[in-house]
């Protein structure tokens, strides 16, 4: 299938891009990696009349670590995030999630910010961002703001971005190094496909080995990625054992309200939510214990 007609703009600076967005608003969409957007445009499920190609804005490709946060620019490729020491060491759950996105060839063009902004409720990176309490840095000609991940995802393929706003970066607080472990696990029908359910877990233990903090996010089980806050609360201050993890899994499953499709029914996705939450927690905790020595 072929896309509908559109005007093509290739700004060289963020200000230029923002000016275009200010002018065209919801008629325009920014183009970064294109691995999600162009696919949609080819089926005409997306028909922007203006495409703003941001790939030539060099400053947006940067990945850096400063002030206790990892910053990933809008044009930083998923592949770059995979190999970046800042991401790998700073936000391991995000690095682990990136490795499971599609295929290496897709990750060489696709961007992390692009995946987040696309807001697919089944996608890995929005979920990892949510578990890591990350933020989206949004700019418009009116100024800049940061949007917490939990506020960013408003529904399937919809975000809190205003029509004239560009997501210029992700800002993810560095995950504590001591006594903290994370894991991203997912189940998909086949290698490289979106998961039926994915779970991002980040767990910090206290000096006694009890859970000081647990953050659990899930994809594929709701209209947007969700935090399993009841499960997190149940883990708080408890010493993790099999029974507790089972209970956490069950609580995560009850937070799920999946939409079924040809890959998995709602009931099956809820089942996976329980299983994968348990497994993600088990892995995160054992990794946290390794860093406890």
């Amino acid at each position: 299938m072929k896309p509908a007609p559109f005007a093509y703009l290739a700004p060289r600076s963020v200000d230029e891009a923002l000016a275009h967005l200010a002018e065209h608003g919801s008629e325009a969409r920014p183009l970064a990696g294109g691995q999600s957007l162009v696919r949609l445009m080819n089926t005409r499920l997306a028909t922007p009349s203006v495409l703003i190609d941001i790939n030539r804005i060099g400053e947006l490709a940067a990945i850096s670590r400063e002030n206790g946060a990892v910053r990933i620019g809008a044009v930083a490729r998923q592949r770059a995030c995979e190999t970046s020491p800042d991401v790998r060491d700073g936000v391991p759950v995000f690095a682990e999630a990136v490795r499971q996105v599609a295929h290496p060839s897709v990750r060489r063009r696709g961007t992390a910010v692009g995946s987040v902004a696309f807001a697919d409720p089944s996608a890995e990176l929005p979920t990892a961002l949510l578990a890591a309490d990350g933020e989206v840095v949004a700019r418009s000609s009116r100024g800049e703001r940061t949007i917490a991940a939990d506020d960013f995802f408003t529904g399937p393929f919809t975000s809190a971005l205003a029509p004239d706003e560009l997501a210029v970066a992700l800002r993810i607080p560095v995950t504590a190094a001591e006594r903290t472990g994370s894991a991203f696990v997912e189940e998909s029908r086949r290698h490289g496909e979106l998961p039926m359910c994915g779970v991002a877990a980040v767990v910090t233990l206290d000096g006694d080995g009890a859970v000081a903090q647990a953050r659990i996010a899930l994809c594929g089980v709701h209209r947007r990625p969700i935090r399993a806050r009841d499960a997190e609360a149940a883990l708080q201050s408890e010493h993790p054992d099999d029974e507790l993890l089972q209970a956490a899994g069950a609580l995560a499953a009850s937070a799920a309200d999946p939409v079924g499709d040809c890959h998995g029914s709602a009931a099956f996705r809820r089942h996976l939510a329980a299983v994968l939450t348990r497994r993600a927690l088990a892995t995160a905790i054992s990794r946290a214990e390794e860093r406890n020595a």
Partner: protein, 157 residues
């Protein structure tokens, strides 16, 4: 109709200075405007990899990129591999010696993905090959001989 975009693009070593419609996919630009029909449309969804070409040396799904994005870029297609006198590129030779193709539709994409891999990892293990080619579908060969072909190409170089 929106304004055409002017692009200065090098394809297989030949410089082009042309106007393209914004929505013309890189795949169609190559096939229809430059008559380079080696890249194939298998899905136009980025799911199969049959359209894979190299853009600035990176394996790229030509169905998910617009020709308009190519200003200043270098594109390499399968047509650049064999010599004009018919001498096959080592990767092509490895594919035919190891029966790595049957209908040939996925083959140009596989060859270019393999070339990109061999450029950065001249002696790949089978697992490296599987990772590099995991986004390329084949419906005929069952993949085993494709992996063998790329490993063999690495062994030869």
């Amino acid at each position: 109709m929106p304004d055409k975009i002017r692009i200065a693009v090098t394809v297989n070593g030949t410089a082009h200075d042309v106007l393209v419609e914004p929505r013309t996919l890189l795949l169609d630009f190559l096939r229809d405007q430059l008559a380079l029909t080696g890249a194939h449309a298998g899905c136009e969804q980025g799911a199969c990899g049959a359209c894979t070409v190299l853009v600035d040396g990176e394996p790229t799904r030509a169905c998910l990129m617009f020709a308009a994005q190519l200003d200043g870029a270098e594109v390499t297609t399968v047509e650049s591999l064999a010599g004009p006198d018919g001498t096959l590129h080592p990767v092509q030779r490895a594919f035919t010696e190891n029966h790595g193709l049957q209908c040939g539709f996925c083959t140009p994409g596989m060859l270019l993905a393999a070339c990109a891999l061999l450029e950065r990892n001249p002696h790949p293990e089978p697992s490296d090959v599987r990772e590099a080619l995991s986004g390329n579908l084949c419906r005929c060969t069952g993949y085993q001989n494709i992996v063998r072909s790329v490993v063999a190409a690495g062994a030869e170089v």
